[in-house]
Symmetry: none
């Protein structure tokens, strides 16, 4: 059976309030979706949104997908123009994605009141655009917008839009609950009726929004009624209440119905991937999120605690390992030993049977996470911690005495917009037997500190010349306290061949960044096999 | 038809990770639930949890409910003791609530492995306890724990537990998906089978958890299969992924199926009540929550905005007024003039027919967004921009000459983890005809700048005394460039009554924060109707 798991995090997910993905963000999220094992990654709307045009351009050289294919999203041709003269349709071809997903109207009220064209012209727009793209060698998915509302208002017209798409060569027609108002029983009826009208052959898809709290159930209802293509987003991102949470939909189908949908059993990595994507979108993960939420397998009741030890299966609906999550007892705050053992193995350390060590590392990770650290996206900091527990010490390449950074505007330049500020930092440290005082300048305090630190170290450790910061993320934790909150910084560093991530936490961005920069340099030197003192 | 809307926010909701309700919290939440119009408020487990014993004691004198009745939650008698000798059952009577909800085992595996008693004794515990409480004048609801898992494993035994409760006089038997693993199709099957076994008379209830993302849909499925009692919590609070979101369940039944369930049309107050309860639980509301979330009726796509003006019903599944929520337009790069016009109207500016002005504002918004600003979450900065275009100038309350901030560690304290740094800032500005130089300290550079700025201004503008930063968010844009990237800061400020959000962008966090702080102060003074120079 052909079944499509179609991800639209980068396109419809990006419609979420407060989300603003850069091209770099999209290029970082796509490989994670690929690793999850989805079949399709909808990258954006080339031609309509300049950033998305750029995404598809850069994807050609910068993105290597192992499992998924890219889909470019766009609209059917404009009313009253020929399809090959429509620049928006041209831009879809220029994106060079193997799949094009076309949004089309199927609710006659939208055709007449929003699109302001005729019923017939709308059908011709579908026919022409699908046929044109298929002739150009594209696989075409047709997203029938507002389909459920449209079908309930005028089933004949809605069905004619579906037929037009299939007749013109569409591979799948997705029935979209664009306004999100459906309940599962309505979905069952409508998909069943469309199935009856078009026969068993043509492939139907489902695109659900969560306005009634039923997006996941609506997707399951559509599949039960004969859909073989489901669209959704990671973490349920999307406009208003969000799209169907793709991981929950897939987990329900895989774990409750026993079908395998994701390539390479990707579901087992779902929790890590969902959290890594949240780090990139910089939207705090929802703890109660089904399957992958931090609380999803967390048990509070003293009622349950002893019984869980006897027989965990009595108290959990699935094994959390199936989605890469952990059971947690809420006496203690975080990660289980099993995941630390797995993580160690991933980094090349076999911790099997080393119960004491595992216990010490688990305690340190737990304490650190309670203080705001996260090792999900900071492998290098985790490896330094693990090595420290293994060897009893942290490699010492240099000893910092003190540091300082100043940022100031020129006189008369403090008014805000367009203010010109300069940043300078001084670092005092000992390295290679010498005391070094070095000053750096930068476009901000962190940049200035980074410059001062590398200037101070490069004489002793020329390898540092090749280190470069490639990414830098800031997250304010426990907000609702104004600037009194804790800051977490993630830094990604490269030496041109390898890339590593470190984390720092502090009462403000400068102190947190300093800690992450130190870890980045120590790990880089360790990896370059430089001997520590 | 009798239909129970049964709220368990105070009991099962309180099992949520991170939630810790005091007796005073519970006494404050109960009247809000009553105002919402639910029929039953489950207050806690008297006898087992001292706080809950206290709640029921104080409720007698301190709580006046207009619509709802209180339910005391507890367990069937212990194995091997007579019911009137069981202190836990006694405590349920002592709570003096008109309703007692008894949790009982119905999954034979739980009877044998967790409760460690016999199948027969478990049924006797149900019979004895229900009969005893009914004889004492209580209305009894029996919550059949792990019912679905139990029924799928041993339907005969699970059904015998239900029968025992009805035979002893229970008013309702609630079928509980305690582990939350059900999907709607399974619920339909099980409730249908139980209905067939017990006949049409006895009343069945539903208690769902959201582990599959289907708690709302499972509740609807149970109602469709014949349940006439639904349990849930406000905001979907609860252990793991939470309980069924009671407002979403009720809204779906009232607005999509046309039944009236809440007293006094309480659904129209749902958004305010859900947010008020979140204030008391001190858990940040989830913006994407169905019906009552801040984003639930927020529209971003420029695609939609022009059509929404014509016919809002084409783009919303229900009228937001039905749940006390509002449609909001988000100003974003995807937005065109139409959404800016709508946003203006929301802020109280009628821009109809002002084509030139709209064009200027749209251009400024697009330029600003290209530079990294976002107005989605910064209404106050948008209003300042709009006013500037309307009046030709920005209100001037003060003129900044320059500012500076220094952050430094003490000698010997620079090593990273545990480093102690101090932050200090100086601001020079003119306000009220004077030149002012002021210095502030803080736990970081932004905090220090905020302190210095408010110290400088408060003599001239005492209103500033009441301003407080309540939230602060940082986003690094276009990363993949290390610390050379652009930083965006969102700041939320309150004067105790109103709350406003501002945005700043700069090459680093300090400059971006400074800009957002300036906007926050200017907007706050404008709103306080302080005259500008």
């Amino acid at each position: 059976m052909t079944f499509d798991v179609y991800d639209t995090t980068l396109r419809d997910g990006a419609q979420q309030e407060g989300m603003n993905l850069t091209v770099a963000d999209k290029l970082a999220i796509a490989p994670l979706l690929d690793e999850l094992g989805v079949g399709f990654i909808e990258g954006g709307w080339p031609g309509a949104i300049p950033k998305d045009t750029e995404f598809f351009r850069r994807a050609r050289t910068e993105l290597t997908l192992k499992n998924a294919v890219l889909a470019a999203f766009g609209a059917t041709r404009k009313a009253g123009v020929t399809v090959d003269a429509d620049p928006q349709v041209r831009a879809l071809l220029d994106a060079e994605a193997p799949v094009v997903t076309l949004v089309a109207k199927s609710d006659v009220r939208h055709v007449e009141r929003a699109l302001r064209t005729t019923r017939e012209e709308n059908l011709a727009m579908i026919t022409d655009t699908v046929r044109f793209l298929v002739a150009q060698g594209r696989r075409v998915v047709l997203d029938a917008e507002h389909f459920y509302d449209g079908f309930r208002f005028d089933p004949a017209y809605a069905t004619s839009a579906v037929r037009a798409a299939f007749d013109a060569g569409a591979e799948v027609v997705t029935l979209c609950d664009t306004n999100g108002g459906m309940l599962p029983a309505f979905v069952t009826d409508v998909v069943g009726a469309v199935r009856a009208a078009v026969g068993q052959g043509p492939r139907l898809g489902m695109h659900a929004h969560n306005d009634t709290g039923c997006a996941v159930a609506n997707s399951l209802a559509a599949v039960a009624a004969g859909a073989s293509h489901v669209q959704g987003t990671v973490n349920g991102y999307g406009e208003r209440t969000g799209n169907a949470d793709l991981i929950a939909v897939v987990a329900n189908l895989e774990l409750k119905h026993g079908v395998e949908l994701l390539v390479n059993a990707g579901l087992r990595e779902a929790t890590r991937i969902a959290h890594a994507i949240a780090e990139i979108t910089n939207i705090a993960p929802f703890a109660r999120q089904p399957y992958v939420g931090a609380s999803a397998f967390a048990h509070k009741g003293g009622l349950h605690a002893s019984a869980i030890k006897v027989d965990p299966d009595l108290y959990q609906h699935v094994d959390p390992v199936a989605v890469g999550n952990d059971m947690r007892m809420l006496v203690s705050e975080m990660a289980g030993r099993a995941s630390i053992e797995l993580k160690g193995r991933e980094l090349g350390f076999d911790l099997t049977g080393q119960g004491d060590l595992l216990a010490r590392v688990t305690t340190r990770v737990k304490d650190a996470e309670a203080a705001g650290y996260t090792y999900d996206a900071a492998d290098a900091s985790f490896e330094l911690l693990l090595r420290e527990e293994l060897t009893g010490q942290r490699p010492v390449y240099f000893e910092v005495e003190s540091w300082r950074t100043i940022i100031e505007t020129l006189p008369g330049q403090g008014q805000g917009r367009g203010a010109v500020a300069s940043a300078e930092a001084t670092v005092k440290l000992r390295a290679g037997g010498e005391r070094i005082v070095s000053t750096g300048e930068g476009n901000g305090p962190v940049n200035a500190l980074d410059q001062a630190l590398r200037k101070a170290l490069v004489r002793t450790y020329p390898q540092i010349e090749r280190f470069a910061l490639t990414d830098f993320k800031v997250r304010i934790l426990e907000s609702e306290q104004g600037t009194d909150s804790t800051t977490r910084v993630l830094v990604v560093t490269t030496d041109g061949e390898r890339t590593w991530s470190t984390v720092g936490v502090g009462p403000n961005i400068i102190e947190a960044s300093w800690e992450a920069l130190l870890d980045a340099h120590v790990f880089g030197l360790l990896q370059a096999k430089v001997e520590a003192r």
